[in-house]
Symmetry: none
Subunit: 228 residues, 2 copies
């Protein structure tokens, strides 16, 4: 299993670095963002495993970030709050936060809570799954779900889509895709990839404007996720 990626969102840089220090020691990948709008864009793009989100931030505060993120993602979110905010206040607002931690916090506690929330959210149902607006690709169930409906999909197509969607916005050449999806010992025409992309596009067209299977002319293909 790959390292979970934790995104830390806080405008105070020294707090970010402190968290990075402790989280990396526990073998998490850490991404730091210092403002709300960047956070929203990056969560959409990178699909982190968990977000640590400070409430008190200029321009867009943590509440608003949480609310907006919940419109497109169910990534676990832990709120970092000032002293005085009670459980009810933070969790009762129905913004979809998964836990909260009161500042000034004990770093051990943060790590413990991150692990607890991760444990909870990694249920058997979402194992091997990527989700975007109206799209779910699950490689354990071998199931493609478009707009709530399960679409019968041949294995190679599903594996290709999973691979691309798992790494959004990253361009792959046809040869890379043949290596990584078909297996490196496979020798075949790179037209093969085109045909599978075409067949996927038929299944996916017009479903959402949040993402698409894009051609990068002269290079290859990518699963593009829009950042509004």
């Amino acid at each position: 299993m790959a390292k979970p990626n934790i995104m830390v969102v806080d405008d105070e840089k020294n707090i970010c670095e402190l968290l990075r220090l402790y989280l990396e020691k526990e073998d998490f990948d850490v991404t730091i963002v210092n403002n709300g709008s960047d956070a929203i864009a990056l969560i959409r793009q990178n699909q982190p495993s968990l977000v640590l989100l400070d409430i008190m931030m200029p321009v867009i505060d943590g509440w608003e970030v949480c609310r907006q993120v919940r419109e497109f993602s169910s990534v676990p979110i832990i709120m970092l709050t000032a002293k005085g905010e009670t459980f009810d206040k933070v969790m009762g607002l129905d913004l979809g936060a998964d836990d909260y931690i009161v500042k000034p916090f004990d770093t051990k506690e943060v790590v413990a809570r991150v692990k607890a929330v991760l444990r909870r959210s990694s249920s058997a149902d979402t194992e091997g799954e990527v989700r975007y607006d109206k799209l779910t690709v699950n490689i354990v169930k071998y199931e493609l779900c478009v707009d709530g409906k399960v679409i019968d999909t041949p294995p190679k197509e599903l594996e290709l889509l999973y691979h691309l969607a798992k790494n959004p916005n990253r361009v792959y050449t046809r040869d890379q895709l043949l290596d990584e999806v078909w297996g490196f010992e496979y020798f075949g025409d790179s037209r093969t990839v085109d045909v599978h992309v075409k067949r996927l596009r038929e299944k996916l067209e017009g479903v959402s404007d949040q993402w698409s299977l894009k051609t990068v002319w002269g290079v290859g293909y990518k699963f593009e996720v829009k950042t509004p």
Copy 2:
């Protein structure tokens, strides 16, 4: 033995979190659901060890959830009731609840009752058993029960069905099944699996539309459970 999984069903999120806190401290896995219909779907899918079920919920109340769950599962259920509901009122309705707790409750009491009900219900006759709508597979009794009738089933077939049904929706390749059901030292043709699946299908066809033994073309087989 794996951690028991407790499902908490309550529309009040802070109560859920409180229960989670205490139950996780006692080394239970906790799943939280905030409404009745999700609860029914998830119980069907995940087969928790025990359900803590609030009666007062919007849309579908706890009584109705209990009644519907009992149509396909014998999972132990503890009802969470408002003050004033007497034992007779709650348990006398014959909806199949196993115990009840009056709100506001003492968390210690909840934990104690959960443990008590679990102890009771882990009796010899539900051990090693999976249940779905009109289907019970028991690996201890080596018994397959379809639509209330016991069906004579050879051991390998039963073991295969048990393995698949115990891990619903997950695809297994033929080789995985040979490893996990026949044993890893077994060397045989993977067509063997097909033949057993065919014979199981004969026994199971048309019994329920809630589940089925699905072929995943190019990959293997899965026991698929529909989420209504």
